[in-house]
């Protein structure tokens, strides 16, 4: 199984990198971009075959290490 974890800054937390990205895109002529938020994607290969159990474990991984919940939120996807 694979777990795909999306980690991003919580709404309301200033994202200077996202702001720089949106400005750069505007400079390149993509005026329709009004906001950018930058995050990261973490992919894990997992042993086992129980997606529900995997989701519980990966959520625990997010809380313990993969996300800093003071500033970040996360979303977990489990793939077969």
């Amino acid at each position: 199984m694979k777990a795909i974890i999306h980690v991003g800054l919580k709404p309301g937390v200033l994202d200077p990198q996202g702001r720089a990205i949106s400005r750069s895109l505007n400079d390149l002529g993509f005026e329709e971009v009004t906001k950018a938020r930058q995050g990261k994607v973490i992919e894990l290969d997992l042993s086992g075959d129980d997606p529900a159990a995997a989701e519980t474990r990966v959520t625990e991984m997010c809380e313990k290490l993969l996300a800093n919940t003071v500033i970040e939120s996360y979303r977990v996807e489990i793939e077969d």
């Binding site: 200033l14 200077p16 990198q17 313990k64 003071v70 500033i71």
Partner: protein, 220 residues
């Protein structure tokens, strides 16, 4: 008086911290490698040094804060052990949950490296008591991720409880409410992005950092 400096892979201010501690206590601190599972008996004060532990992978200080020695430090800090973290050490303390908030990418996106004027906003803390009537100090800063963030409720609480110990006179990184250094509610754990350990000798360009070390050592 026995002190210790924790060393992580890619710590780079561990020797600066050791020099500062030796200068103030007259004794060389114990250098403790991060894989140790327990701090040796009889240590009174611990410094988490600056640097780029684990190459700043994942988040600054994230990996270091999960190392065996930090687990032991968390339990000892909760029993009153004095611990200070400077720069990357501050990031480790927030990641370990010993101090509230988080350090984010600098607002201007640039690495900032220069002497920085700071205001002492709590002169009664265990880390500032020796400064007396001095209200302004200059410590070097050198960081890319020093933008202190906490939610408003936390910031209000920090201010109300006197936990904001230093503020920037000219905010270099976008830190909330110009916060440069904070302590925990009990006052034994302290963290700041600037480097007091790099301001302890006239050859550094100033000695404003010495009183910070003297303050905490004298309080023990």
């Amino acid at each position: 008086m026995r002190t210790a400096v924790i060393t992580f892979p890619a710590s780079n201010c561990n020797r600066d911290a050791a020099m500062a501690l030796e200068k103030v206590t007259g004794e060389k601190p114990l250098m403790v490698w991060h894989r140790e599972s327990e701090l040796p008996q009889g240590i009174d004060f611990v410094v988490l040094p600056g640097g780029f532990s684990y190459g700043d992978y994942l988040r600054c200080g994230a990996m270091a804060s999960r190392s065996p020695i930090v687990k032991d430090l968390v339990s000892k800090a909760n029993k009153g052990l004095a611990i200070a973290g400077f720069c990357n050490g501050f990031q480790v303390l927030t990641e370990a949950g010993l101090l509230p908030g988080a350090l984010m990418r600098n607002k201007g996106l640039k690495f900032v490296c220069r002497p920085e004027k700071l205001k002492i906003t709590n002169s009664d803390s265990r880390y500032t008591s020796k400064y007396g009537a001095v209200t302004d100090v200059t410590f070097p800063v050198a960081h890319h991720d020093g933008n202190y963030y906490a939610d408003d409720e936390t910031l209000n609480k920090l201010e109300k409880q006197g936990q904001v110990v230093f503020r920037y006179a000219d905010n270099p990184n976008g830190s909330a409410r110009d916060i440069a250094g904070i302590c925990n509610q009990a006052g034994n754990v302290f963290g700041m992005m600037p480097h007091p350990e790099r301001a302890i000798d006239p050859l550094h360009g100033g000695t404003d950092g010495l009183d910070l070390f003297k303050s905490i050592i004298e309080s023990i």
